[in-house]
Symmetry: D2
Subunit: 342 residues, 4 copies
Amino acid sequence: MIAAGTATVRVGLLGAGRIGRLHGELLARRVPDAEVAAVFDTDGPLAEELAQQLGAAAAASVEELLAADLDAVAICSSSDTHVELILAATEAGKAIFCEKPVSLELGEVDRALAAVRRAGVPFQIGFNRRFDPGHESVRRAVVEGQVGTPQLVRISSRDPQPPSLPYVERSGGLFLDMTIHDFDMARFVTGSEVEEVYASGTVRIVPEYATAGDVDTAVVTLVHADGCLTVIDNSRSAAYGYDQRVEVFGSEGMAVSENPPIHHGVLVTADGSLRARLPGSFTDRYATSYEREWRAFIDALRDGVAPPLSPEDARAPLVIGLAARRSVRERRPVRIDEVSGS
Amino acid sequence: MIAAGTATVRVGLLGAGRIGRLHGELLARRVPDAEVAAVFDTDGPLAEELAQQLGAAAAASVEELLAADLDAVAICSSSDTHVELILAATEAGKAIFCEKPVSLELGEVDRALAAVRRAGVPFQIGFNRRFDPGHESVRRAVVEGQVGTPQLVRISSRDPQPPSLPYVERSGGLFLDMTIHDFDMARFVTGSEVEEVYASGTVRIVPEYATAGDVDTAVVTLVHADGCLTVIDNSRSAAYGYDQRVEVFGSEGMAVSENPPIHHGVLVTADGSLRARLPGSFTDRYATSYEREWRAFIDALRDGVAPPLSPEDARAPLVIGLAARRSVRERRPVRIDEVSGS
Amino acid sequence: MIAAGTATVRVGLLGAGRIGRLHGELLARRVPDAEVAAVFDTDGPLAEELAQQLGAAAAASVEELLAADLDAVAICSSSDTHVELILAATEAGKAIFCEKPVSLELGEVDRALAAVRRAGVPFQIGFNRRFDPGHESVRRAVVEGQVGTPQLVRISSRDPQPPSLPYVERSGGLFLDMTIHDFDMARFVTGSEVEEVYASGTVRIVPEYATAGDVDTAVVTLVHADGCLTVIDNSRSAAYGYDQRVEVFGSEGMAVSENPPIHHGVLVTADGSLRARLPGSFTDRYATSYEREWRAFIDALRDGVAPPLSPEDARAPLVIGLAARRSVRERRPVRIDEVSGS
Amino acid sequence: MIAAGTATVRVGLLGAGRIGRLHGELLARRVPDAEVAAVFDTDGPLAEELAQQLGAAAAASVEELLAADLDAVAICSSSDTHVELILAATEAGKAIFCEKPVSLELGEVDRALAAVRRAGVPFQIGFNRRFDPGHESVRRAVVEGQVGTPQLVRISSRDPQPPSLPYVERSGGLFLDMTIHDFDMARFVTGSEVEEVYASGTVRIVPEYATAGDVDTAVVTLVHADGCLTVIDNSRSAAYGYDQRVEVFGSEGMAVSENPPIHHGVLVTADGSLRARLPGSFTDRYATSYEREWRAFIDALRDGVAPPLSPEDARAPLVIGLAARRSVRERRPVRIDEVSGS
């Protein structure tokens, strides 16, 4: 795609909203050998404002952006535009970084990824948590054999604040919007595909979610191809902050990624020892992972190797999520091949 | 039963094996206001040896022991004798401390507990973990409202070494032998009964367990009457020691009981910070809980109040275990009332 | 002294007060192969009460106790009687366990220890903290080379409650009563003698201590023979409980003994993560060390080897304490040989 | 100085070496409302390279830089140039951020600070550690009364790697180069001035330091005006990384700033629980503090209030360092007023 050793990877940013701004600022300010060359958003003034801040050009259309001298695009627009943008970028021969999800429809995902594979363009989906140094240390311990054969995985993933009802209605629900990160994590840390899903979900926090057919509290059990069991618990509202823990238990030991406090001060009194609270937002919690995600993608482009996440990594968690959704509805374990359609 | 304020509670010990010895030594040496007055075991010399060590009399039969001047009995014999001993002790009007389980047969449990209730004798089942100070702090945080409404419970319970195949064959299997403690814990920390169970179990450690129809690795999801979800994971073999963690997540916060290391030394080198390993056995891990369990029972007898665990606490975890066993076999969630028979 | 492999080590207890009771109960109930055979106290009824509880005989006099069939004595009486009791026990050929200090007068200490050495009786001074598993792990890390050459030692030692003024007046003051444990710890963990002392002390907690010529808050710097520097800080009143930390920093790493909380529960809320408080008394904090101290002494007697602490271990910390006292008074560093008189 | 609410604070960077680059990149990329407008370095090409990266102009001389449209200067050049640059910037009416130290000569420090005070220009010295969130939490706990009256302070400050001999020779030695940060920290967390210093120092790591009259391992005791005692330990070489801990003990409790590991992964095996290592450099350890230091300075300028560190904060730690140096040489406690000359 781009010549290895090329000075700087030029990225076009598609989407100038909250997540587009986050990625744009990282690329412009913290990722070596990368720059934001162009910005497009359906909200033109928003694109211009961000372009100016990042020293980039504002593009008037997707076509204009794709016609520019770019090595890659970062797709950070609303989820329902991802497939079309992937197809357009693929046709333009650009490397693609795409925020999750590709789509909530499996057929659409397959259409987009088939095009990506045919064209052979580098493609990386935005499962940033894989690049969190703590979570990554869990994967590394597995790969290096320090935990032996994985047998049990525990993932807790709890958000500080429940999203709005409108967001929930278009998000695909808890399993496709939130747990999807945990499904990715389960595949990542074990290195094994998921074959069966059983999910229990309830509404404990926002009664209105029930009208949207969604839940806010859930426990999901996954059976992996290699026999490992993963259990995930989710909540849309953790009073104490952003709670994100991953643990792999195996025949030789256990690797855990614990919650980092916001600082390492401790107050010791007659009440006990009080450590600092957890981060209150994903941008605080995962700032490092977003930066490292981009470094990995840019490095892969410059080195001419495949990005660390494959197109299949963009598809598999969605399938697990669809199976989880069905499991809750039908109150039974659901096999992946019931849902996968392949 | 015994006059409140009586000097010393006299206990007759039924069973002089490993667990009988453990309870006997605690009673004789660490529990104020209690003494072991008599010991019986089908292995007479064993009973005599322990009796001598504890300053007690050896009884030649259960009848002889029950005829002695005793306030209470401690039933620590093999599980299949518990029901008959409970019935005999009940008839003799003794307060009863009974190691778990009462029986692996629900009908037998009901027969024994009905007699206990009719006679009105104090009865406490040996779910010692409730008296672990860390686990107890979790319960206290729930009771005092510090975690708000419980929504998610996580319990990890992993043994250091798998038991022998013969043991497994007569133990009732993982769910009735090992997870039963976690079922009790789930009821204890939430204060809510369990209504539905879904269990996944596999054989990952000891292939021979499969021939006994048992598993060595499992994940169980419980749905409580109040909507709380509990997830339990078990392993028969944790390379790093005895792993016992309990966590309640609620609307206001989270209470966790973490694993205590064997000491609080830390070695800090270029490799990181190495804390001491976990205890290697339940007697090390739960020594304090066994002592506090007895203090609570003895205090209840002396104060003339009901022991902290009720007969129902002896029955409910068994029912959950039976449901879990069926869930694994039938690969579906099982409602408690399908099993409970009541 | 006693034949290796002898069934049980018979100990005579001198002193039935708080510390005598603590040692007596450990010996009678928790230390294998040991028993309390006789008890003496100047308060006869107190001796009789304790003797009865421990299954021992009450002796009417020191002479009567020493004439009994004993292998060893435990000197737990008031400090000003220690020297005479050591001399008497030495003459009677008994192994001696002696609570610290031997005496606050160096000449008296030397008189007692000279007799011990001449007679060749086993002698162990009650610096129990060496047997704390956490502190011991620090020493072990040094011995095994995991921290390399010791260069800096940090010891924090803070009591929960200040003692009464009368106690302070007869205790020899902070450095001989409290810091003396830390002086022992500094020698223990480094394995190197102390050559120079600089101490700063102030009265911050109990103004009346000033009238007794004592301090309640202090920092002491020790220079060891091998060049290692130790810094100790002390307070007579820590609001949060009993604070006892030891740390050795060396060329290859650092070994630390941290404070154990009273349990391992954690409450996580929007305020942060609250761990349990520290123990409130030395009997809670150091229960294990007292038991292991006795096991080590009894094992040494049974194995016919020297106890783990030598007579010099009883003397050296006192000398350091005398130097610290002089340092505060004269506001200058004091060399050990200015005080030691040897 | 600058109108409150002004869009952007324009800073001129004096020095484009390692620390200048660090500050420049922070200002250009992470500090809102600030920009690097000009860069000067005696190494012209170096200045031009950095200027280009930061979107700033390269100045050909200090005079040219000071004549530019700037609100403030950041003095990041070699220490021996700080005084003259402060004087020049003061004359030019610029707000001044100055890396520590102002000078190693107290007279020079006084000359520079007198000019600053006369001119009334905002001045902030680069004691960045005050802005570390953990250390800051200790100060906050003191200010808010959570630890009560401070009685004992412990500071451990240990570098991963010893500096070169030439660096040591011109740095003023351990106490003026390294411990000076800890002297500042002691004043910061207690809020009390230092009155007396006793220092012990040895050469344990780099024998050549002795020829430069310096030490590499030290313990320093400070007596504060309010009676609080601070003890600092330093090493030039910690095998396990950058070790920076601060602790205030007071009448009501203790506030501690612990070492952050590089991530929060834990590996649990039969050897124990291994947490991640400490940061290997001050840029990793204190990245956040540098950013927050600048935010505080820029905010103060924009709000028209005094910066959080006063000119006295630039002077006092140097005086303590001079007293420490004398204390080691003369082997006695040294009062600050023996050195301060004021």
